[in-house]
């Protein structure tokens, strides 16, 4: 079956994938980890995979023109810049400010 010039994806297959990834995500969160970076990295990675599946199939980005993908990707790039600058503000050393302190040096 095709509509609007593309085949209708198997939505239930995507649903089962999303459910499986969510269960795996819960397992990853519950299991003990030695490093917080591994825990956070795994959860963020799985969340990105789920977001890509939703955008590609449920939001039909896969079947849209490339212009739409470029438009959507540009917001993600701008978002990454925003978050990177925020993290940089905290992590990069500034003269007179202790590392990781937002409100400036204590009086």
């Amino acid at each position: 079956m095709t509509t609007d010039g593309h085949t209708i994806p198997n939505y239930m297959a995507i649903f089962w994938w999303l459910l499986g990834l969510t269960i795996f995500e819960i397992g990853w969160a519950v299991l003990p980890h030695h490093s917080k970076l591994v825990l956070a990295g795994g959860i963020v990675g799985l969340a990105i995979i789920k977001a890509v599946l939703v955008a590609m199939y449920f939001m039909h980005l896969k079947f849209e023109r490339r212009t739409m993908g470029v438009l959507f990707a540009s917001t993600l790039i701008l978002g990454m810049i925003l978050v990177s600058v925020g993290i940089g503000e905290l992590r990069l050393p500034r003269p007179g400010y202790p590392r990781g302190v937002v409100n400036g040096p204590s009086q």
Partner: protein
């Protein structure tokens, strides 16, 4: 007759094209979605800065992972019922479209309820732990 024409609407038809090759209504919706992405990025960015720049409480003590998991499950269910409704209207079956739309409504409502519960629990626990810290 007009209703039947609306169902068989082809967004890629020559007369619907704009200068970008994408119909105005579809482009408008995608620009709205992109603005939503930027909005939530701002919120998540603020969260990251606040979390790492302050004395943030332990998430395991303030958040209920099973409640969050249930919330995610309901979110996935409401997404799939919504796209199934779209699929059936594209196939021309209005009855099944209505059925899936009806299934989407209670799942969206329960998602709102569970999100509110989750936020209330988290804020209550955060306030309690802050109060405990301040009294020490």
């Amino acid at each position: 007759m007009e209703h039947a024409e609306a169902i068989t609407f082809d967004p890629h038809a020559e007369e619907d094209r704009t200068s970008t090759g994408i119909p105005h209504d579809k482009m408008g919706m995608w620009i709205f979605l992109c603005s939503e992405v930027m909005f939530f990025t701002g919120l998540i960015g603020s969260y990251i800065v606040l979390r790492y720049g302050s004395n943030w409480p332990d998430p395991k003590l303030t958040l209920n992972i099973w409640l969050t998991a249930g919330n995610t499950f309901i979110l996935i269910c409401s997404s799939v019922t919504m796209v199934k409704a779209l699929e059936w209207i594209q196939r021309g079956d209005v009855g099944k479209m209505k059925l899936y739309m009806c299934l989407t409504r209670p799942s969206s409502a329960s998602r709102c309820t569970s999100t509110a519960t989750c936020c209330t629990r988290a804020s209550t626990r955060t306030c309690r732990s802050s109060a405990r810290r301040s009294t020490r």
